[in-house]
């Protein structure tokens, strides 16, 4: 048994790590160091392009015929970890890990030809159209309608919590095409051009001041049936498949490891009782607790990904990774705010270079700690809330 990398994987790690450090633009790294604050959709396009041009690294799991390097799961895992540890932006998970693989698996030849290259090189940004005002945790009760009319669907309704909708080129979304049966039936997966007539957006501001979220309104939006993925009425299965594809992502272990490194840098720089905060016995104990909690999730993820059967054999028990991983991440971000002492009260808006606040207080890297802390409250709510995940585990794993 071995919990670490073997020699081959270690060589691979060293190689991709050094390339990442090489190709990573300073401004992107600085944004990552601010806990991703300020990373824009166009930054993500640029980073995707850079990785793509390095040999399809933007889509590490895709086979060569679709422009990827076709790496093994182990290598994909190591590569994503190295991105985070070298403080690079993550992959575009919608493109690389979710919709791309679904298209490769279920898409028509023509759909693959139209979409895969743009997903790989960053020309196409996607947004997700799943949630609705009355379909959150209870996703299958979605009501946004797509009625067949000749070669088109006519879409009417509202999607909620659409991240980065104004910057997206296409939405992949679930729509109701039949209301007669049980609610999981009659759902269809469509790709919708965000420039379609009748499609409008309104931002939803989040309480920390972010504006990445939107409501998306559909008013007789015509969608060619050629943009349907899979069969009509059978979108629920593919939609869940797409969510389930995010094998290396939902626990956000890599990002949390990066955060932990930054937290320790901050604690080593912050003053406390005439010394450094990291030497304060009480803070040090909390830090140790968080570090160990993160290690638990990291190793459990490894065990589940690379146990017998590999990632494809992961079952519903993987839900615990999302539950626990997001909890630990929130804990780490909380400690980062706490590390700043009274400066933890200061809102980031005024700590940007050029802001009203002449001299930033607290280590620069933590300038956005508060806002990111608030923003990350979402991670236990979205993508299947902690409560929904526990229901799933209770039923599917525990048999309750």
């Amino acid at each position: 048994m071995d919990i670490g990398y073997d020699d081959d994987l270690e060589r691979f790690r060293a190689h991709v790590g050094s390339v990442i450090r090489d190709i990573l633009p300073d401004d992107l790294r600085d944004k990552v160091r601010r806990e991703h604050a300020g990373l824009t959709p166009s930054d993500m396009r640029r980073w995707t392009r850079i990785l793509h041009d390095r040999g399809g690294w933007s889509v590490p799991g895709w086979p060569a015929e679709h422009g990827g390097p076709g790496w093994s799961y182990e290598r994909q895992y190591v590569f994503e970890r190295e991105l985070a540890l070298n403080e690079a932006p993550p992959l575009n998970v919608f493109s690389a890990g979710m919709v791309g693989p679904a298209l490769i698996e279920f898409g028509a030849r023509d759909q693959k030809r139209r979409f895969l290259p743009g997903l790989a090189n960053g020309d196409i940004l996607l947004c997700q159209g799943y949630s609705e005002p009355n379909a959150g945790s209870d996703l299958a009760s979605l009501q946004c309608r797509a009625d067949r009319d000749g070669d088109d669907y006519v879409v009417n309704g509202v999607k909620m919590w659409t991240s980065d909708a104004p910057h997206a080129d296409w939405m992949f979304g679930l729509f109701r095409t039949d209301s007669s049966g049980k609610k999981q039936h009659g759902i269809t997966l469509l790709l919708i051009d965000m420039a379609s007539p009748g499609l409008t957006m309104a931002p939803i501001r989040t309480f920390e001041g972010g504006d990445e979220l939107n409501q998306t309104y559909f008013d007789d939006v015509r969608v060619p049936a050629a943009n349907r993925i899979g069969e009509e009425h059978k979108g629920w299965g593919i939609g869940k498949y797409i969510l389930g594809m995010e094998r290396f992502g939902s626990a956000e272990v890599g990002r949390s490891m990066g955060m932990m490194r930054r937290l320790k840098r901050i604690a080593a720089a912050e003053p406390a009782a005439g010394g450094r905060l990291i030497d304060d016995p009480h803070f040090a104990l909390e830090l140790a607790r968080a570090e160990i909690a993160l290690r638990e999730v990291e190793l459990t993820e490894r065990r589940m990904l690379f146990g017998p059967g590999g990632p494809d054999a992961m079952g519903f028990e993987a839900s615990l990774l999302k539950v626990r991983g997001t909890e630990v991440q929130q804990k780490i971000m909380g400690l980062m705010v706490e590390a700043l002492g009274s400066c933890g009260a200061i809102d980031a808006g005024d700590m940007r270079p050029g802001g009203d606040n002449a001299e930033p207080l607290g280590p620069d890297a933590a300038a956005h700690a508060g806002r990111v802390f608030y923003n990350l409250r979402k991670s236990t709510i979205w993508g299947g809330s902690t409560e929904v995940q526990k229901n799933i585990i209770a039923k599917a794993v525990l048999g309750l």
């Binding site: 003053p271 406390a272 902690t386």
Partner: protein, 379 residues
């Protein structure tokens, strides 16, 4: 054992509640937060008219002769409605520094203005390198030309830019009281050499860094008869802690009520959220936290007049307990609101911000647990 407000206090609480509720409906509150100073002078005057600023001061200083209990009643209402005002800064911190640290003449000269709301004070004490410890002060007051020359820097001074006068802590020159202890000096906000760069705190409040660059003040700027002011500072900040605890408790109860209401109305899977037992039990925990917090507000408030060790131990117990509880309750509130809880226009997230700022002000829970333990060993 008497846990009942006097009739007068109950009337006062009710009138403060009516006024604060009237001034701080959430949308109006958000508009005030977006202004330059983060609050409306009109609102300030309206509360002054109600006697809020006068409440804790003796009648000889233009006050109404109340004290900690009245401050508690005010703070709970502020927390409940997320009211942002320079009240803690001016009345509780600045005002009580003068009240406890000033000579009778200084009190009678300064406090009437504070009590009628026409003058605002701020306490410029904290310095970043000291973290949450009160004793280390590197700002210096040199004796020169029959006065003092003050130099240094103060960080995260609550509502410092709104203040007419700053109460600045500084190391006094040697020779006076032997070792040159820490003194409190009244410095006009617009004195030459005072720089104040203001910024918002997460809860929409305001604070600033105060740069003191050879600021000249007269000898009469020194509060009291001299001598080390650390005891005064401890006492003043214990009052601030009690105020923050009451504010946080008010905020917690509001989060409890609105979250409970949300659970009773929002449906998922064909049932109201409130019918799910797992959420019921969590709401019971939230409710329990609110009840315990209310008790600890009494602990902090009603011990403010006790001996220093009892007072500080009670304040630290409350700050540690309510700091953790307020954050926990507000995080639960956001979580139980689901996506809705993440939005700018729904108050619950703003309550969480208030709890985080409360924890970053005057020491976090770990700091106060350690202080509590230390004071317990000394006792």
């Amino acid at each position: 054992m008497d846990f009942t407000l006097s009739e007068e206090q109950a009337l006062f609480r009710d009138s403060v509640e009516r006024t604060v509720a009237d001034l701080f409906p959430f949308a109006r509150r958000q508009a005030a937060v977006a202004t330059e100073e983060g609050y409306r002078e009109d609102d300030w005057r309206r509360l002054a008219g109600l006697g809020c600023m006068a409440a804790p001061f003796p009648e000889a200083c233009g006050g109404l002769g109340g004290g900690p209990e009245e401050l508690m009643l005010i703070a709970e209402r502020f927390g409940r409605h997320l009211a942002n005002l320079p009240f803690l800064a001016s009345v509780v911190l600045g005002g009580h520094a003068v009240l406890f640290g000033g000579t009778e003449a200084q009190r009678e000269a300064i406090l009437p203005g504070v009590a009628d709301g026409s003058v605002k004070l701020a306490l410029a004490h904290g310095e970043r390198r000291a973290r949450f410890d009160l004793a280390p002060v590197s700002t210096v007051a040199r004796a020169e030309d029959g006065g003092y020359v003050v130099s240094g820097r103060k960080d995260v001074v609550l509502y410092g830019r709104a203040a007419d006068r700053l109460v600045v802590s500084a190391r006094l020159p040697d020779g006076r009281d032997g070792g040159g202890g820490t003194g409190l000096l009244l410095v006009p906000g617009d004195a030459e050499g005072v720089g104040r760069s203001s910024y918002a705190t997460h809860d929409g409040g305001r604070a600033c860094n105060v740069l003191l660059d050879d600021v000249r003040v007269g000898t009469d700027a020194l509060l009291g008869a001299g001598g080390d002011a650390l005891d005064v500072l401890e006492r003043v900040i214990d009052h601030g802690i009690a105020f923050l605890c009451a504010d946080a408790a008010g905020s917690m109860w509001r989060v409890y009520e609105t979250t409970l209401e949300y659970l009773k109305t929002r449906s998922q899977f064909g049932r109201t959220l409130g019918s799910f037992q797992a959420l019921q039990h969590r709401m019971v925990d939230v409710y329990t936290s609110c009840e315990l917090a209310r008790s600890m507000v009494f602990e902090a408030t009603l011990n403010l007049g006790a001996d220093a060790a009892t007072r500080s131990r009670a304040a630290s117990a409350a700050k540690a307990a309510i700091g953790e509880a307020a954050r926990g309750v507000c995080e639960e509130g956001v979580q139980l609101h689901g996506g809705v809880g993440m939005t700018m226009d729904v108050p619950v997230g703003h309550h969480l911000k208030r709890a985080m700022v409360m924890n970053a002000t005057f020491g976090d829970a770990r700091h106060h647990l350690a202080r509590y333990a230390r004071l317990g060993r000394a006792a």
